[in-house]
Chain length 146, copies 2
DNA sequence: CTACAGTCTACAGTGGCTGTAGAGGCAAGC
DNA sequence: GCTTGCCTCTACAGCCACTGTAGACTGTAG
């Protein structure tokens, strides 16, 4: 049961050292014990927690959701419907973004297909960008960052 | 041919006033003439340019690409293959993100489907987040912001 | 004249980290 | 013991593409 340094934790969970310290600073990871010289020393639980965070991030969960999930983890006797609902929300978000991206893809394809070479002044791609009507602003939301 | 204030330009191109000033600050929009009292006064060309930028942003083009496209617009006699290639690059990026999101969607669906209710301590969703193997880190890239 | 909307500048804040500087810590080889 | 070379520490700036805020000035409709 020997303690783990931040570098080892970083490798174990595949999260950068700086990111671990960042997570600590925003309270996502608790402050660990320190060695005499002030170095962070973690236990197995930290590896678990950090891996959990990383997996959730990989699945695109927003920080807030992850915070909630961690909160829920500390009360394992509760009904898991809250967990389910967070996951469903995330799925809904992903689907929404998928739809936006699909619309984008179609539009880009159309645009590119319409180009027949030639000079910039006559380029259909340029024309589309210039004259593009409201066909995308129907769904009036900008693509969200992930 | 009367000049347009920033507010009207904002409405005309559906871009926020602050964003217009931001675009000016990063050189995406040229500095316009000013009234005696210092207010920005735009012409029709600015509406065109700003709409162009907005449409390109809507299609997810990165700022750098938009900069290049604007550059190309100033030389309408050139071959438009450069334009085409920027658009194709963008399409490729969109497709890549689509693939990532689809993988995410599948994973989330699987995770949610495996949950049969009950308590957090036994929740399959939580378990998946905890034990999740390398099935997503195969594609070893974090989802990109847009 | 009085509201009130529009505009101005300058700067801080957002999220989720990443990068940098400069200093100190630790284990392995000589 | 001593050096080498990586690891860790703190604190702070920077990234992108904006958004928000504060406080002052301008323009216009009633």
């Amino acid at each position: 049961m020997k303690p783990i340094t931040i570098g080892r934790l970083s490798k174990a969970a595949d999260v950068k050292v700086t990111t671990i310290r960042y997570y600590e600073s925003i309270g996502l990871m608790g402050a660990p014990d320190r060695s005499e010289s002030g170095q962070r020393l973690y236990g197995e639980a930290a590896v678990q927690r950090l891996s959990f965070i990383r997996h959730a991030r990989d699945l695109g969960f927003p920080m807030e959701a992850i915070r909630d999930l961690i909160e829920l983890q500390t009360e394992p006797d509760q009904n898991c419907s809250a967990v389910d609902s967070i996951a469903r929300q995330q799925l809904a978000d992903v689907r929404k973004r998928l739809n936006q991206l699909e619309a984008l893809e179609a539009e880009l394809k159309r645009m590119i297909a319409s180009c027949e070479g030639g000079i910039v002044g006559n380029c259909r791609v340029m024309a589309t960008l210039n004259d593009h009507g409201e066909c995308l602003s129907d769904s009036h939301e900008r693509l969200q960052p992930m």
